[in-house]
Symmetry: C2
């Protein structure tokens, strides 16, 4: 295996110094057009490409962002990762992807600190306080996506859990529902807790009770939760799920196992507005988390934190909107 050509090889061939080669490949550097041409020619002939590893070692910037994502079977996250990937590529950053290991440990996640990633983005995964501390010590900004934390050094970008859940509750009330259900994601999830709290904050003062079950952010789990809710003596006729992924599972259980017609016999509402929510099979009422609006916020916050690590952490909430579809009782069916 012939070793890859280095800047030194290019320099020799072009009859310039090695630093000239470096300059030729550095966007802002001052170099004569003629010199650059000679270098580019030599580089092309040799098949030279700058070694980003060596560059990172000295600039102390990897231009790599570590992303940890879980729940990739929930369409929301792949969409998010894809959008992040594009957006960061535009800014000259690449993503080092870690998926939430089934074992759940973060030893493997810590590994990304060894790569000196410039920032860490955690998409809906637990942040161990230990890991947060390590990142702070290493001066690496941490950004939580779709989850919050108590840690004061960590930024977060979330959808409007509070406003969204309230909008849903008010809408369901207005449609005449009186028996409400909630299917939580995980008890440990701030997102699920926030949505439930806001939902209850609207309903309970009106004297409404909310029955609940836990779906573990999982399709099968949400089906079981739905069965538990619908089989009970006082089954709810309006169920709000902590996300669309679970709501689709619930809709299937209601329709195919209980023979109920969503939108007539009961209302089913999700959260996220994933692509599949708009498919005819579901036509799911939901509150959107607009990825195209969230991603620029994430990118800006990340760049900002990288530029000045001691800046105040960002706590952004991106508003969505209630999207009424036929899985819920519509105005025309009121009463």
């Amino acid at each position: 295996m012939a070793p890859l050509p280095t800047a030194y090889d290019v320099a020799t061939r072009a009859g310039v110094s090695q630093s000239a080669v470096s300059r030729a490949f550095t966007p802002g550097a001052s170099i004569a057009p003629a010199t650059r041409q000679r270098i580019e020619k030599a580089a092309a002939e040799l098949g030279y490409r700058p070694n980003n590893i060596a560059r990172s070692l000295i600039t102390r910037q990897s231009r790599i962002i570590g992303v940890v994502a879980g729940y990739l079977e929930n369409q929301f996250y792949p969409q998010l990762v894809q959008a992040l990937s594009h957006a960061f590529q535009m800014e000259g950053y690449r993503l080092l992807l870690f998926t939430n290991p089934p074992g759940g440990g973060d030893p493997v996640v810590e590994d990304m600190l060894n790569y000196r990633v410039d920032a860490v983005i955690l998409a809906s995964v637990m942040l161990s306080s230990h890991f947060a501390e390590e990142c702070r010590a290493a001066g690496i900004p941490v950004l939580l996506l779709n989850r919050k934390t108590d840690s004061p050094t960590v930024s977060s970008v979330t959808g409007d859990n509070d406003g969204g859940a309230r909008a849903i509750a008010n809408y369901l009330l207005a449609m005449g529902h009186r028996r409400f259900g909630y299917v939580a994601g995980l008890e440990s999830s701030s997102t699920s807790r926030d949505r439930e709290a806001a939902y209850r904050a609207v309903l309970e003062p009106q004297g409404m009770e909310v029955v609940r079950a836990v779906g573990h952010y999982d399709f099968a789990g949400a089906k079981m939760a739905t069965r538990a809710l619908l089989a009970s003596g006082q089954a709810p006729d309006a169920i709000f799920y902590a996300n669309d992924h679970m709501a689709m599972a619930g809709l299937e259980v209601a329709r195919f196992e209980f023979g109920l017609a969503p939108g007539r016999d009961l209302s089913i509402v999700g959260f996220d507005n994933v692509a599949a929510a708009a498919w005819s099979s579901f036509d799911l009422t939901t509150y959107s988390q607009p990825i195209d609006r969230m991603v620029p916020v994430v990118v800006r916050a990340t760049l900002e934190q990288m530029a000045s690590p001691q800046a105040e952490p960002v706590r952004a909430v991106v508003e969505g909107g209630l999207i009424v579809r036929s899985s819920s009782r519509g105005p025309s069916l009121r009463g």
Copy 2:
């Protein structure tokens, strides 16, 4: 910002040489247990972590694998990426993720060569021959997932497109169908072409005609393709889609726009067996591409190619199986 501690700092504090520190963090290295302990203690106190960038520079191994994936809205790919991520993490590799840019250019993809990735995995994206050549020159193994190529230096792992499409064709024939449709992914996709060819290879010798349309591997595109097929004078009563993602779109069009009952009025068949294919709303007949069996093959092939770059490229075909569900006419409904 205090700079991160280096191996040298740890050495000073532990009263050893810097190389001793290196050895303490190198699995196989020969070092006295007592020395290692002292070093580990000093490292912990300082919050030291080895710099993988510096290590990579000298070992000439990044232990990073570049992955390019597209079509993340098709559930198959996130599932695949997730499985790859886990499997490679077990082997001590991380994934640098590139998503297929909307613009489609590979300049950004070439960027990953600058990171000296140890291998490149292309999941259902076009391989430009230029890029393949660059990788070969750089000695970086390239592995195509779910796509083939003519390039003799490139390995590939695919599902059993030929066997699967034949199984589907034979099954549909046996169920008494006589008017067949095919919805292609992209004309340029080897996978779509292979599936179509095998499907026709079974049907045409039996005197069957196959009408076709192109769905561009896209949900909306597949809906349009389906409309075109079903609205034509001699509409097919059995349609095979190049993948499940498009088949689900087709099923929705048939059911909600044409009022047809899949499994009775027509048969709809996909390919992949994604999780959603098993959902009650679709209950889609399909031929599986078993991710849990494909991934180990991919990992093994990648490790092999990295170990000996001049080894023969791997061309693996992973068998799946026909999964009959209610979206197609079953034996009991024959005739």
